[in-house]
């Protein structure tokens, strides 16, 4: 059990600010993914928590205790890197056993811990294989096993599956998921891959330009990003963003757009003259048949994507939208189509990119 808290943590490299006064909490026994594009500062933040990087200012606390200047060895953490840290000249069993020999455990306890991590990470069949015989995915499982066997309170991961080939990725993810569920450690996991974050995390801390933009459960972040950045970064492809002026009608605000057959009322946007309408490609409905809630559009491009679904680029008035539809519908559609943007799937943002706490209605 260990809660990690960082307070106004900052790291500068010369003139570059890698981490910008970040204050946040990584709850105990929870998997938090630090997600963001390359260069967003996520790895630097992780390395300051590990003690591998000295902060320019700010503090790191483990369970309320200040550890900012403690060396990594005295922090009771485990760390797994992009490249598996294993001893190549020996077998899997010895790799897991070696760190435990320094821990002053009796032989029975040592064996119990080895058995436990071997079972969790599915290494039973590889136990007496030499490291050189193993693929990258299995080596990384060994690296995780030897880290976990020491039973650190906090485990830090830095893009551990980046260098693993596609075929063993799922296996490694499954092992990591199993490990975090069974051992209830505080895990901080750095990745640029939104799918890995959505799959592994209890909560995601989304980073951009050295700052944490939003902390939320994966589905909450996906469905209700508090910034256009979250809407764009999560999803394949991300949200459509369409800027509109609002019309003032007495006390109310009205949005007239080629996306809707009739004007739409906006509630709670009194001070915003312009809004960005955000909608995910999979929430737009396309059809060859006209419906009362649809508007006419023209297919610009179509392509096959995940699971045989189709990704369309559709011109609607002055807007270019991306819409994802089921295979059977996508195969048929071309030329003129009818598009529906259901208002319940729309997120509104201010022109500065922040989410607007407003709702839409047809009347």
């Amino acid at each position: 059990m260990a809660e990690v808290r960082v307070v106004e943590l900052r790291k500068e490299f010369g003139p570059t600010v890698a981490v910008r006064d970040v204050t946040t909490t990584f709850p105990s026994s929870t998997v938090t993914c630090l997600l963001g594009p390359s260069g967003c500062g996520k790895t630097t933040l992780l390395r300051m928590i590990a003690g591998l990087e000295e902060p320019t200012r700010g503090d790191v606390y483990f369970d309320g205790e200040r550890v900012t200047h403690l060396p990594p060895r005295r922090r009771n953490i485990g760390m797994v890197f992009q490249y598996p840290v294993v001893y190549p000249g020996t077998n899997v069993y010895r790799n897991i056993e070696l760190p435990l020999l320094e821990e002053k455990l009796d032989a029975a306890e040592r064996q119990r811990r080895i058995d436990e991590v071997v079972a969790i990470l599915g290494l039973e069949d590889s136990l007496y294989k030499e490291i050189a015989q193993l693929d990258m995915g299995t080596r990384q499982r060994v690296a995780v096993a030897r880290t976990v066997a020491r039973q650190p309170a906090i485990i830090l991961f830095d893009e551990p599956i980046t260098n693993v080939d596609v075929n063993t990725k799922a296996q490694l993810k499954r092992a990591l998921k199993e490990m975090t569920k069974r051992l209830k450690k505080t895990v901080i996991y750095v990745t640029h891959d939104q799918t890995d974050a959505m799959t592994l995390a209890d909560q995601i801390a989304l980073m951009k330009d050295g700052e944490i933009v939003q902390v939320a459960e994966p589905r909450a972040l996906y469905n209700r990003p508090n910034n256009v950045f979250g809407g764009w970064f999560l999803g394949n492809p991300g949200m459509n963003f369409l800027e509109h002026d609002l019309e003032i009608v007495g006390d109310a605000r009205r949005l007239t757009s080629s996306l809707f057959p009739t004007p739409v009322w906006v509630h709670g946007a009194s001070d915003a003259p312009r809004v960005i309408v955000g909608i995910r490609p999979e929430n737009i409905r396309l059809s060859s048949e006209r419906t009362p809630t649809a508007v006419a559009g023209q297919v610009v491009r179509k392509a096959i994507t995940v699971g045989g679904r189709y990704l369309f680029t559709v011109q609607i008035g002055e807007h270019l939208l991306r819409a994802k539809v089921e295979p059977d519908i996508g195969r048929q559609l071309q030329g003129e189509v009818w598009a529906e943007c259901p208002i319940e799937w729309i997120t509104l943002f201010r022109s500065d990119g922040h989410r607007l706490e407003a709702s839409l209605s047809l009347q």
């Binding site: 594009p37 390359s38 260069g39 799922a170 993810k173 499954r174 998921k177 640029h192 891959d193 939104q194 799918t195 959505m198 799959t199 994966p218 589905r219 996906y222 469905n223 764009w232 970064f233 999560l234 999803g235 394949n236 492809p237 991300g238 995910r280 490609p281 999979e282 491009r301 392509a303 096959i304 994507t305 995940v306 699971g307 045989g308 679904r309 990704l311 680029t313 994802k324 089921e326 295979p327 195969r331």
Partner: protein, 369 residues
Amino acid sequence: MIAVEFREVSKAYHHQLVLQNVSFSIKAGTFAVIFGPPGCGKSVLLRLITGLEKPSSGRILLRGVDVTGVSPGERNIGYVPQAFALYPHYSVRDNVAYPLALMGVARTEIDSSVRRVAEMLHIDHLLDKKPHQLSGGEKQRVAIARGIVKQTEIYVLDDPLTGLDFKLREQLFDDLKQLQQSLQATFIYTTSDPIEALMLADQAAIVDSGQVVETGPLEQLYWEPLHVRTMELLAFPKANLLSGTLFVRSDQLWCQTDLFTFPARIDPAVGAIDEARPVQVAVRPQHITFGVTEPDGLLTCRAQVMLWEDLGGEVIVHLDVQGTRLVTVVSHDGDRLLGDETITIGIAPTAIVLFEPDTGRRIGQGVGM
């Protein structure tokens, strides 16, 4: 009009055959993707087009003219290499201009060509910067601009987006597609990434183990694959493959796998099935129905959920069915997320495709029960 044609081309290095009797052609003005797993021979194929390699046997034609013996400099092809080595001390402008400067093109003409491609690739605001001031995605755009600055009608792109973050690649898909359309040129593009191939290709050549196993328009390859590797690899997630046995019982042809047995139909050209014979059984992830309650007409079995991979709009579900791994993909409806559990899956036999194990050729499919 045919832009590129291979006639019975083979290539060997030190008696090791890396391309084996390859014949195919690429229509002019299309986005053609040469797709296959790493090490399949697609880069060699590309180097044969540019002239960086000579075939051991066979002929290569560009624009209808035999160029087998023609040097790279005289083939008039634009080239975007895989590893983008920009000159660190040159500005973006000079990096892009480099191929034209090398050809001795006049400065004013170079300037207008650089401006034209810079606008197309949205890097016109970066022309005075140095490579170290650019992000990874911007560097890649500069490398592509350098590859297309020479005005010609055939461009070769060797896996140019490999190693980029998914988000950067996603932005470049649209730009590359638009670029090819506005240039009205032939793009020949290699990749081992199925999503990239699906997003970009008008037509594709599927390469496996030194052979072009199938070529055609993309949608035809996806929906009506004639080779097992096309069906398996040109999809995300990959198609599921099982081994099966074909046999006849009471005048009906059946296919049996470890998981289920279903009636099947074989193309007449294959001939009669007199004795049991092995077959490869393929089914796409999206054709495995999840959580079946009314199994009418479906092959069903119990499956253990191993992992949910949440893509946002879709979920890839990894299943264990009595020791066999299957992958399925479902739309994400709302916030439903399941943990480890056992569920019933169903497959319509008509969605199952059968391939011959030795040749990889499609020989038939499942039929309704």
